[in-house]
């Protein structure tokens, strides 16, 4: 299996603060890759660099063999790198269905005149976008709330809607930023099942930020651990879990050490 996403010596400085320092790792096609680390470790900043929302200070990101580190977010998204947000960013005033339709329209390059005057090709694309969006909304279990404004959904449903919206980009790689935040144990297990299921169904590669160590250990075949912006361990979950640097980052150092 080849690397679908390769991060090389990636750094990000906010003024004098190094949010991410010289991070390198590779994500292989089809795997579920976990990115863990304490609060403020730079995980979301790393995601922002992968998706073009933040410009790296140094280093490169290769996606499908192409350097995407200088590209605009929209261009990266259309290449097939989709994401969800830790602090949910839905189109609040729009319906559940319309939220999921937006990436479809972005992909088919919705034409202004075709849409207004109802050209045959525009009508066909509208129908396809509608059918695909409906299917995705059903898939995440929101089929009964197609016309509800996204902002009035309960918290858990909003997280699921974000995943449906990201899937509407027909991505090759899906980045999930703390998808299990605020969920209880049973919900986390459901979510783990769901992530495996969509990986298989859509042939996805998943990159996952998560605080919950048991969930990551159960779901991912490889993980990377960030602490204070630095990659302190990577590899198989069992090996990483036993790594002294990781234990130190999560639990601190014993007083007599």
């Amino acid at each position: 299996m080849s690397a679908i996403l390769a991060v090389e010596s990636l750094s990000k400085a906010f003024g004098g603060l190094m949010a991410v320092t010289d991070v390198s790792f590779e994500v292989r096609e089809g795997e579920i890759f976990g990115l863990i680390g304490p609060n403020g470790a730079g995980k979301t900043t790393l995601f922002n660099m992968l998706t073009g929302l933040a410009k790296p200070t140094a280093g490169t990101v290769h996606f499908l063999g192409q350097d995407i580190s200088g590209k605009a977010p929209a261009a990266i998204a259309l290449m097939g790198l989709a994401r969800t947000f830790q602090n949910i960013r839905l189109f609040g005033g729009m319906s559940v269905l319309d939220n999921v339709r937006v990436p479809r329209h972005a992909l088919d390059g919705a034409s202004l005149w075709g849409g207004v005057f109802g050209s045959a090709s525009s009508r066909r694309r509208e129908r396809e976008a509608l059918a695909q969006a409906r299917a995705l909304v059903e898939l995440v279990g929101l089929g009964g709330r197609m016309d509800t404004p996204a902002a009035s959904l309960p918290y858990g449903d909003r997280r699921r809607l974000e995943i449906a919206r990201a899937l509407a980009l027909s991505p090759k790689v899906l980045l999930l930023d703390e998808p299990a935040a605020g969920m209880n144990h049973a919900e986390k297990q459901d979510l783990s099942r769901f992530i495996r299921d969509i990986r298989d169904r859509f042939g996805l590669t998943v990159l996952l930020i998560e605080h919950n160590v048991p969930m990551v250990m159960g779901l991912c075949r490889s993980v990377a651990v960030l602490n204070f912006g630095q990659l302190i361990a990577k590899g198989e979950p069992e090996a990483v879990q036993a790594d002294p640097a990781v234990i130190e980052a999560y639990l601190g150092v014993a007083a007599d050490a």
Binding site: T51, L53, A72, P73, A74, A77, L78, A82, R83, F85, R89, L90, F91, G92, G93, M94, D98, R101, V102, P103, R104, H105, A106, L107, D108, A110, S111, L112, G115, V116, F117, G118, S122, R125, E126, A129, P149, R165, A166, A168, L169
Partner: protein, 290 residues
């Protein structure tokens, strides 16, 4: 009835015209962008019609075309506004919020200064004796009425199309729209240019109505008036601009018996709407539907 129409004819036509200007602001607002450039394009469109209607070199063309000269003026105004809209839109729409509003106001001022100093626009005096197709002012409803109907139809279709949804996604969350593949700048420019083109055509239709065109047609005050229509009526609905224009244009007339104190009441209504209806008049209907 005829008496009433004669008396309020100008008011009715003005409401239609101002509602169209308000709608020209609604297009960029669909993408969440507050632009005050409309009045500049209105002024530009008016000058296009005024020059085409009065310039001696074009006399043979006017004679040959007759009434068709007016649609030709609209078309030229539409093209000129669209081109200038693209040229202005790309740099200006990199700015956000209050800075975009300021940049577009600056644009309106620059156009004003140009019009004051160019021979073709007649300088400070402006252009006089613009040919008028109708005797009565109410008849200009034949210009503005169909344009308003067409604009509303266009909007009704647009809001239900993929392009409309892309516009709204930018308004709802610009960062997420970009992350979902929406070409944010191109879509903002698209919405902006539609607004510019509409304002240009409204200007071209207004030049014959007013018979004279000068720099007073494109002032800061007029730009703020258009903004007020949208804010009072509701910035998130196409009906907002309509309702706002109808209310704000007719209010001073309805309150005329109060003489000078009507200005106080006029202002009071504005303040009350802003305080108690932050989503405008159209927002009241929105809530009931939700």
């Amino acid at each position: 009835m005829e008496d009433l129409l004669a008396r309020y004819g100008f008011l009715i036509v003005t409401i239609l015209q101002q509602a169209l200007l308000g709608l020209s602001l609604y297009f960029p607002l669909m993408t969440g962008q507050l632009s005050l450039a409309s009045i500049g394009f209105y002024s530009l469109g008016g000058y296009v019609a005024a020059v085409m209607g009065t310039h001696p070199a074009l006399a043979p063309l006017r004679e040959a075309l007759g009434f068709s000269m007016y649609p030709l003026e609209w078309l030229v105004a539409l093209l000129a506004s669209s081109i200038l809209g693209v040229v202005l839109g790309y740099p200006a729409l990199r700015l956000r919020g209050i800075y975009l509003a300021l940049a577009t106001i600056a644009f309106v001022q620059i156009l004003g200064v140009l019009a004051l100093n160019m021979p073709i626009t007649g300088g400070a005096i402006g252009i006089f004796d613009i040919p008028q197709p109708f005797e009565s002012r109410l008849a200009y409803a034949w210009f503005f009425g169909p344009l308003l109907a067409l604009t509303l139809f266009f909007l009704w279709r647009l809001e239900r199309s993929g392009t409309g949804r892309l516009f709204f996604s930018i308004r709802e969350n610009e960062l997420a729209a970009g992350a979902m593949g929406v070409n944010v700048t191109a879509r903002k420019v698209q919405a902006f240019v539609i607004g510019c083109a509409l304002a240009g055509v409204v200007g071209a239709m207004s030049a014959p109505l007013l018979n004279t065109w000068n720099t007073r047609q494109g002032t800061f005050d007029a730009a703020v008036a258009c903004l007020a229509y949208v804010l009072i009526g509701g910035a998130r609905s196409k009906w907002g601009a309509l309702l706002g224009a109808a209310l704000l244009v007719s209010l001073p007339e309805l309150l005329r018996p109060l003489k000078d104190s009507r200005m106080i009441l006029d202002g009071l209504v504005l303040v009350l709407v802003c305080v108690y209806m932050p989503r405008g008049i159209a927002g009241l209907f929105d809530r009931r539907r939700a």
